[in-house]
């Protein structure tokens, strides 16, 4: 069962590029390091290739992905790779969307969506195995956020039964783009409506992980993107008797709660790795437990509620399965909202084959009330701008009027309040 990714804009294409590099290096991991026999590894690799790639007539791997950008510069970079090919590039080079969601959503998308739809249809009809569509985009700019929102909206109509998810990266809070709060607000308000789930990332959090855990002195987008890619790969690589639907079902029990955060362990710099003792699941799960709690200093205002999850999933890759003891750390019923039956709170998945050369690797997908903190940052900034009516004329130029904004604020606030009230 395969996954089709759509990479939108500069951020989406860079993460997409990193994702396939990560997958490729996992596939190519030396069999002696995988912890399984040759035959089991071949099975795993075959399944993985089926999931993310197709093999063309000459035997070369082609990525199941559509690259979408309004500028050909970034896409050109992504496609330059010797190991596998990118078949679908939709880059009508008519200039960027000027950091303006409205420009991307109402205008730029007009030029692109037909080609994207054709591409998606071809991919889906190719061998009938595509189960899910995953859109990857950054919410700050105009292309990824605007064109991405519009495309996923259209695809939702066309494929009501496919699993459509978004990977959304929120920009640095202190700013990359002046209109980023508007763009993020409009994106999330739209995507929460049309997707089945959103994997929510924050550049700030990832930046911190890079500098603190991986000891990267000068963090670049390359570091951040490859970390995100690693987490996505470790989540969606094949699991025994599990499809993406199974993982997904357990995480989103209620149509309003669709924001999924991803944690993973271990993350240590290469230097430390030499001195690390073989680790156990319970150590890793403990690390994850500690990393869930956000650094509240980063967020404005006080939020001192306990963590409340609507659903969590734990995915382990390594030589031994989880024991009940390992899981107990995050199975505590106090962590979960009352209305979720206890047997659905925490699901766990497992594959014996290692992820790349990590003896044990665990990813933790969590849907919990702390998501409201990320939302609050966006909401506050957007209200501040909107209160002065600043920058609105750029959006009005592309037919996004005040009423559209107010409706999006409304949807976004409902989402925020729901998470806050968990």
């Amino acid at each position: 069962m395969s996954i089709l990714t759509l990479q939108f804009g500069q951020c989406g294409n860079q993460i997409g590029k990193a994702l396939y590099e990560e997958l490729y290096s996992d596939i190519k991991t030396d069999v002696s390091k995988t912890g399984v026999g040759k035959k089991a590894n071949v099975e795993y690799v075959t399944e993985s290739v089926k999931k993310w790639f197709t093999v063309n007539k000459s035997g070369a791997l082609e990525v199941r992905s559509i690259l979408i950008d309004t500028e050909s510069k970034v896409v050109a970079n992504v496609t330059a790779n010797g190991h596998y090919k990118f078949r679908n590039v939709v880059a009508k080079s008519h200039g960027g969307a000027a950091n303006n969601w409205a420009y991307g959503y109402t205008t730029k998308s007009e030029l692109l969506t037909k080609d994207i739809q054709d591409g998606v249809r071809k991919e889906i009809e190719r061998d009938g195995t595509v189960l899910g569509i995953m859109g990857i985009l950054g919410s700050a700019g105009g292309t990824g956020s605007g064109v991405g929102s519009r495309t996923l909206e259209i695809l939702r109509d066309e494929y009501p039964k496919k699993l459509i998810t978004g990977v959304v990266v929120l920009p640095y809070k202190r700013g990359e783009v002046v209109t980023q709060s508007y763009n993020s607000l409009l994106t999330l308000a739209k995507l929460c409506n049309v997707t089945d789930g959103i994997y929510l990332y924050e550049n700030d959090t990832m930046h911190k992980m890079c500098s603190k855990l991986l000891s990267v002195a000068n963090v670049t987008f390359l570091n951040i993107n490859s970390l995100i890619a690693q987490q996505l790969a470790a989540t969606f690589q094949p699991l025994q008797n599990t499809s993406v639907w199974d993982i997904h079902k357990s995480l989103t029990p209620h149509p309003i709660f669709k924001l999924i955060q991803v944690k993973s362990a271990p993350h240590v710099s290469k230097e430390y790795l030499k001195f690390e003792a073989p680790t156990t699941w319970s150590v890793l799960i403990n690390q994850i437990r500690n990393s869930i709690k956000p650094d509240l200093q980063d967020y404005l205002g006080k939020f001192n509620r306990r963590m409340q999850c609507t659903g969590n999933a734990l995915i382990g890759r390594g030589s031994t399965p989880f024991t009940a003891d390992d899981l107990s750390q995050i199975a505590d019923s106090a962590l979960y909202v009352g209305w979720v039956p206890s047997q659905y709170c925490l699901s766990n998945f497992y594959h014996i084959r290692s992820f790349k050369d990590n003896k044990k690797f665990v990813t933790f997908l969590t849907n919990n009330n702390y998501a409201c903190l990320s939302l609050k940052g966006v909401l506050d900034d957007a209200w501040t701008l909107f209160g002065s009516r600043a920058y609105l004329h750029h959006y009005q130029r592309f037919n996004i009027d005040e009423q559209f904004f107010l409706d999006s604020f409304d949807a976004f606030e409902t989402l925020y309040e729901s998470y806050k009230g968990l």
Partner: protein, 457 residues
């Protein structure tokens, strides 16, 4: 592949152009008389070269190594030259770069406008309208995805200010969806023409109404930079003020367009500047500055730029003495409505984030504009440098430029001096005077409102 068409009007515009184009080619590695090309690293030459040059479709840009190759392949700069006499334009016709300019895109032999805005705008504009539109249309037809026009002219004389703003309004009428960026020189401090205040005021009104973004430049600021900063550097022994002043403008334009010409991990296309820097209509005048301020050197400094030097560059580019107009973005009269920092070369994401922090503590903001900082990174540094930084500010201190123009204008207009030169031109309505005054006053008022709305520190 975003494309830009540059329109140079009048003597000043064409002079800037005459240094701009060789410098652009230089950044791509083409030099007059050289037979090899030193390619800048990590660029997508193939796609970015199209932004400013039209390449006949059967050629691959990667094959070009010398200027002669470009000429041979019939590569043309996306540029339109308009001037009254052959004087400056003729340089383009004879210099080593002559074949890069399409003869069809040169509008010359145009009679002078007598230092009179009205003659340029009301008489010559309509007279040359068809010819101008033809030339513009030809240039537009060569583009796949035209992003913007970049207009270069001076605000003091008749041709630049009059015909320049006439072309601007033509573009607004005929190409409403293409952005219009104007880089114009206010001849302050050297107002050698008595009617200059009228010309500046009348032209500024049209910049307020029809431009997407304006990057104003003041002569007196250029002069001060050249005499007080540049000529104190020990490496400079020969003083060539006009050359250096034009060079400053050229460098600013090079930095400004760098994101559209080269790749970067945080690419800033020029059309993003409008969205990020203009919070409200009409407030689209941006102060620009860059660092380091040097003449193009002959060889590359040996090592990568240290943190300390980079930080100095950032600080200098925010300082009063580096601004291309006479304002102080971090001073007492300035409330910042928007800021852009574009690092070229060695700058990293972390550097830029530090600078944003500095800026946010040093500057004064409205309650919503503190976070209005746009950051960009371009991989390719300027020629013979390892790094450089460009900063743009949308500041309420821009008010002082408008006040200054209005002040000069009032001095003349109170006595109705020289008014008859304007009113005698058919098509000039005497109401234009009061309208431009209102327009300036209105913008001053908008800035003052913003200043009053600022957040107490």
């Amino acid at each position: 592949m975003t494309e830009f068409i540059t329109i140079q009007v009048g003597q000043c515009g064409n002079q800037i152009g005459s240094t701009f184009w060789p410098a652009v080619l230089d950044e791509y590695g083409f030099q007059a008389g050289k037979t090899t090309r030193k390619r800048p690293t990590s660029t997508n030459f193939e796609s970015s070269f199209h932004s400013f040059f039209s390449v006949p479709s059967n050629n691959k840009c990667g094959d070009f190594n010398t200027l002669a190759d470009l000429v041979g392949a019939n590569v043309k700069a996306r540029s339109i030259l308009v001037d009254m006499e052959d004087s400056v334009v003729s340089k383009f016709k004879t210099g080593p770069f002559r074949s890069l300019f399409d003869e069809k895109c040169i509008v010359s032999n145009y009679p002078g406008s007598g230092n009179n805005w009205a003659e340029g705008y009301c008489y010559h504009g309509p007279l040359y309208r068809e010819r101008l539109l033809n030339v513009i249309q030809k240039a537009v037809d060569k583009c796949d995805s035209l992003q913007g026009f970049i207009l270069l002219f001076s605000m003091g004389g008749g041709t630049g200010s009059g015909l320049g703003t006439y072309i601007l309004t033509l573009l607004a009428d005929y190409f409403p969806h293409v952005e219009r960026f104007v880089s114009c020189v206010y001849p302050t401090g050297t107002e050698d023409v008595i009617t200059c205040p009228y010309n500046m005021a009348l032209a500024t009104r049209h910049l307020i109404e029809s431009a997407t973004c304006v990057f104003p430049i003041e002569n007196r600021a250029l002069f001060d930079i050249v005499t007080q900063t540049l000529y104190r550097q020990s490496s400079i022994v020969e003083f060539r003020p006009f050359f250096d002043m034009n060079n400053l403008v050229t460098n600013m334009l090079l930095h400004l367009t760098s994101g559209s010409r080269f790749s970067g991990s945080m690419n800033v296309d020029i059309n993003e500047i409008n969205t990020n820097m203009v919070p409200f209509p009409n407030l689209h005048f941006l102060s620009s500055s860059f660092s380091p301020l040097t003449r193009p050197a002959s060889k590359l400094p040996p090592q990568i730029t240290s943190q300390q030097v980079k930080y100095e560059m950032f600080r200098n580019s925010c300082s009063r003495s580096n601004q291309l107009i006479k304002i102080d973005p971090l001073g007492a009269n300035s409330v910042l409505l928007g800021s852009t920092l574009i690092g070229r070369g060695d700058f990293s994401l972390s550097d830029m984030r530090n600078y944003v922090d500095h800026l946010q503590t040093k500057g004064r903001f409205t309650h919503w504009s503190r976070k209005a900082v746009k950051v960009g990174l371009c991989d390719v540094p300027p020629i013979s440098q390892t790094s450089a930084i460009l900063t743009l500010f949308n500041t309420t201190a821009m008010r002082t430029l408008f006040s200054y123009i209005l002040h000069l204008y009032n001095k003349l207009y109170q006595k109705k001096a020289h008014v008859h030169h304007y009113t005698k031109i058919a098509g000039f309505d005497v109401g234009f005077f009061s309208e431009c005054e209102d327009s300036l006053l209105n913008n001053i008022g908008l800035y003052t409102d913003m200043e009053n709305a600022r957040q107490p520190n």
